[in-house]
């Protein structure tokens, strides 16, 4: 059974240590719920898992092999949805999703299914600039369905979503996990994820700054 794990992870942002000695294991079909107050490093941990951020210490491994040794393979299996939606104002919802699906190596056929998964079919040909912020967020989430990937990294996926869209999100995550996918979610609002492990980042916080100086 392949595990995605982190050991002794240390994250430093701008001379401030966000967390240290953090460890996690994520098995196929598993879900990791990152909790903690603002600034406890939930987003940083997700960016670290994605490879956007380099850990100041510790290792990330996939099936025992360090992720840093083969970043291309790791990038091919992960899907990241962050705070920014990457929806281009002059492209339609369908064009936006299709572009990212092809970047991740999926066909155009998946786009319609992905849009339907977040009830975006009626908006498929509406330009990004005409979408509301919640709708734009749903377009970003539809990218997850357009190109299958093993590991979903979701940063505050429920922000700005209405009740119906939240249900779509829960359904999408459940289907992804049932198919053996894994998901790591940073959120403040509860998302329906049965038997998810909770990782409380506040436990790994260190108050002391890395260096003595306070910078400027």
């Amino acid at each position: 059974m392949s595990l995605f794990s982190g050991r002794d992870l240390v994250c430093v942002r701008g001379e401030r240590q966000v967390f240290a000695d953090l460890a996690f294991d994520l098995a196929p079909g598993g879900a990791l719920l990152l909790s903690g107050p603002n600034g406890s490093g939930k987003s940083s941990l997700l960016r670290l898992m994605a490879g956007l951020l380099r850990p100041a210490g510790g290792t990330l491994t996939w099936d025992g092999a360090p992720v840093a040794d083969d970043p291309e393979t790791h990038r091919a299996r992960l899907r990241y949805v962050g705070h920014l939606t990457a929806v281009k104002p002059v492209l339609t919802a369908a064009e936006n999703v299709a572009f990212w699906a092809r970047q991740a190596g999926a066909g155009v056929a998946d786009v319609e299914r992905a849009l339907a998964g977040f009830a975006l079919t009626p908006l498929a040909h509406v330009a990004g600039r005409l979408l509301s912020s919640g709708q734009r967020h749903r377009v970003a989430l539809a990218r997850l369905l357009a190109a299958p990937g093993d590991l979903w990294l979701l940063d505050e996926p429920s922000v700005g979503l209405d009740q119906a869209s939240l249900a779509h999100l829960s359904a999408a995550i459940a289907a992804h996990r049932a198919a053996g996918g894994r998901v790591a979610v940073a959120t403040h609002t509860p998302i329906d994820m049965p038997d998810a492990q909770t990782l409380s980042l506040a436990e790994f916080a260190r108050a002391a700054p890395v260096s003595g100086g306070s910078g400027w």
């Binding site: 994605a50 990241y80 990457a86 281009k88 002059v90 572009f99 092809r102």
Partner: protein, 221 residues
Amino acid sequence: MSTFADVVARDLRLALRQRGDAVMVVLFFVLTATLFPFAIGPEANLLARLAAGVIWVTALLAVLLSLERLFLADFDDGSLELLALAPTPLSLTVLAKVLAHWLTTGVPLIAAAPLIALLYNMDETALPALMLAMFLGTPSLSLTGAIGAALTLGARRGGVLVPLLVLPLYIPVLIFGVAAIDAALAGLSARPYLLFLGAIFLVTLVVAPLAAAAALRQAVE
């Protein structure tokens, strides 16, 4: 390779749907070049001698003006993060974006250059040299500019920093670009200068995507 074509197609489509940016570059090029005769005076011989220099300097400035939009929109809306996370090497994606940038700025500048040459009464025997020099030189401008644009992404008022970083690197292109035209005007062969422009292009073609990709990874961290 298809993701490369996709990025080019997307950037071209974006440029086409917000035409203002590309038009502005050519407009700036033509308008600035037409200002010189008003300032210098209408003496035909003087203008003909200045033509090569004016064309190249204004083309450089026009490219400089367009560099900011190379990565900034993608950086602001999160697209850059996703491009950095795509399985395609980021340097290849940078190359695709630079190609789209050249197609929307370099090519219109090349097309507008003969108009300026005509305006300045430049001898038409030098026109082939002018076109060839522009054709070999403008891709280097886009490529080198990408490094500057990528480096200044995180900085506040990055737009001011780009010219400081990039203009010194543009000087070789400027020198050989003007020299090629001057040689053709003097009845000499423009070939050595064109070869130099080609060499600069090949070096930047290899170095710039790697350097810009490294800078972009820093920016999205």
